[in-house]
């Protein structure tokens, strides 16, 4: 009886180990829609790791700034169009 228990825990441990070794299959959800887990040997957060791409904050901000400028130019064109009936690009 005792032997059997030991055996079965060993099997359970191996199973658990095996499961992590098989790794990523994208189906371990911590909540609906959040299922990703890092591959074995890779960090689940890359900041500060050797995979940290160290993006520049200035570069990250650029799309927002650019889009605001685009929208402002478009809004001006549309307002002028409404007023004059002529589209000036």
């Amino acid at each position: 009886m005792n032997k059997l228990t030991i055996l079965s825990t060993a099997a359970a441990v191996m199973l658990a180990f095996g499961a992590t070794a098989i790794a990523y299959d994208g189906t371990k959800c911590s909540e609906p829609g959040i299922c990703w887990e890092a591959k074995p040997g890779f960090p689940d957060k890359i900041k500060g790791s050797k995979f940290d791409p160290k993006h520049s904050q200035t570069e990250l901000n650029k799309q927002d700034i650019s889009m605001k400028a685009v929208d402002a130019r478009n809004a001006k064109r549309a307002a002028n169009f409404k007023k004059t009936g002529k589209w000036v690009f």
Partner: protein, 284 residues
Amino acid sequence: MLNKKIKSIYKYIGQCGLLVVSMLTMISPVQASEALPDTLRICASSDEMPYSNSEQQGFENALAQVLAESMSLPLEFVWSDKAAIFLVTEHLMKNECDVVLGVDTDDSRVATSEPYYKTGYVFVYRTDKDLDITSWKSPDIQKLKNIVIVPGSPSETMLKAVGKYESNFNYVKSLIGFKSIRNKYIRAKPTKLIGEIVSGNGDIAHLWAPEIARYVHNSDTDLQMVMSQQQYELENGDIVMQHYDQSIAVRLGDDALLQAINKGLASAQQKIKIILQKEGIPLL
């Protein structure tokens, strides 16, 4: 040459499958030789002025000449019609030739000699432009419109750092014919780049000094050439180097050849200096 060759490769890793593949093929085992070859086989571009061409008008052709004499070896140029950034991966690594001039001293793909000169990226502008520019931090930088740079070089990184990349976007693309550098290496001819400054089309250039020194010196228009500061720190802490040591490359493990080259360089030091000075390269 180093910067064309190496710095841009680092850059291109981010953009260009092509070069990375070339770097991979280079890892394939190459035979290292213990013995000294009986000719000095130099990998050289047939059309990459001012470094080299098949008429041997480049300053690296002259340097090779001097080196061979000093090493007492017959000189053989192995010509390549590929761009010089491919000399290491496409020719040296494939044993088609044994020596490449003008690589960065810290290029880990190859074994490098003692540095034989050091120079950097320079600003070039017309003297009559009335500019006061000694570094990327100079206030006059912000007044500039068209800035001549080589895509993928540290100059491009600097353009981003000083906030001029976007306003200069179309202009830089025009220098390479609006082609995408992601799929293919495209070299903007240095004569064209300096021509932009001479014509007044470009306000200022920031380029690797050896690449353009000859054309700056030969220009009928009065041009200023200002050496960049050694390095810049970006806001994320990364350092952008502007000065680089230049070495001669052999395959990893070609120790006998490397030793002989180092000896040859040492005894030819004075002659090398004269060639570089004649070329107009500001030495550091």
